[in-house]
């Protein structure tokens, strides 16, 4: 029974993982193959977001028991005792990937905002955001 449950859980979790892998593939296709710069930017955001979710999954931990979910890495008391800390360590998820993703999200946002300004400038100069037409106009 426990094993079947575990297998079901694994199946469900794998669906998530493979959906994300496919998302990576689709968004890379969008970046490299779609002609519109705006579409490329949308695909770029999806790509970096998917990378971030993958990083968070690395930091996730399995459930200690079916009723006991892992907890976010925040201590809920301001004066924790040793037992509190031990309980916390045994249930909290990995905080480091979350911190890395925090950094990565902000960086991705910065780059995307700058690319949006650049795309606007491309449109001002070329009158189009289609890279094929931009390449043709450039000669």
């Amino acid at each position: 029974m426990v094993r079947r449950m575990n297998e079901l859980n694994t199946f469900l979790f794998n669906i998530l993982l493979f959906s994300l892998f496919f998302n990576v593939g689709i968004s890379l296709y969008g970046i490299f193959a779609r002609p519109s710069l705006i579409k490329k930017i949308i695909a770029l955001t999806i790509f970096s977001d998917t990378a971030n979710v993958l990083a968070i999954i690395v930091g996730y931990r399995g459930w200690p028991s079916p009723e006991q979910p892992p907890i976010p890495p925040v201590i809920t008391s301001t004066e924790p005792t040793s037992e509190d800390l031990i309980r916390f360590i045994n249930r909290a998820v990995d905080p480091l990937p979350q911190a890395l993703v925090l950094t990565a999200i902000v960086i991705g946002l910065a780059v995307t905002l700058f690319l949006i300004f650049l795309t606007l400038q491309v449109y001002r100069l070329y009158g189009t955001t289609d890279v094929r037409r931009v390449a043709r106009l450039r000669g």
């Binding site: 859980n9 979790f13 689709i26 002609p35 519109s36 979350q98 449109y123 289609d130």
Partner: protein
């Protein structure tokens, strides 16, 4: 008897599949505003994932960035530029 853990994993799987559908349609959609809206669906699914993966801190950053700021900036951009992606390989999808 179904358990909380299985339900959580089921929720993760559902959001994963929905994000796949939304991503696929967003990339292939030639109407750029629809693409933005579809990528907003994808962002919402990722918010759920961040929440379920016990990373509310990330969710708090990610919601403003992906639901609020990206669509706003891209919509500002589309308003100033072009509404559709002129993809000659594809017929522009008609609205029904």
């Amino acid at each position: 008897m179904i358990e909380l853990s299985t339900l959580t994993y089921l929720f993760m799987a559902m959001t994963g599949v929905v994000s796949l559908v939304a991503t696929y349609l967003a990339i292939l959609e030639s109407n750029l505003i629809k693409a933005v809206v579809l990528s907003a669906i994808q962002s919402t699914t990722y918010v759920i994932l961040f929440y379920l993966l016990m990373a509310p801190d990330i969710a708090l950053v990610y919601i403003p960035v992906s639901v609020g700021l990206y669509p706003a900036a891209v919509l500002f951009l589309i308003k100033k530029t072009e509404r559709t992606e002129n993809d000659s390989n594809e017929v522009v999808a008609s609205e029904d």
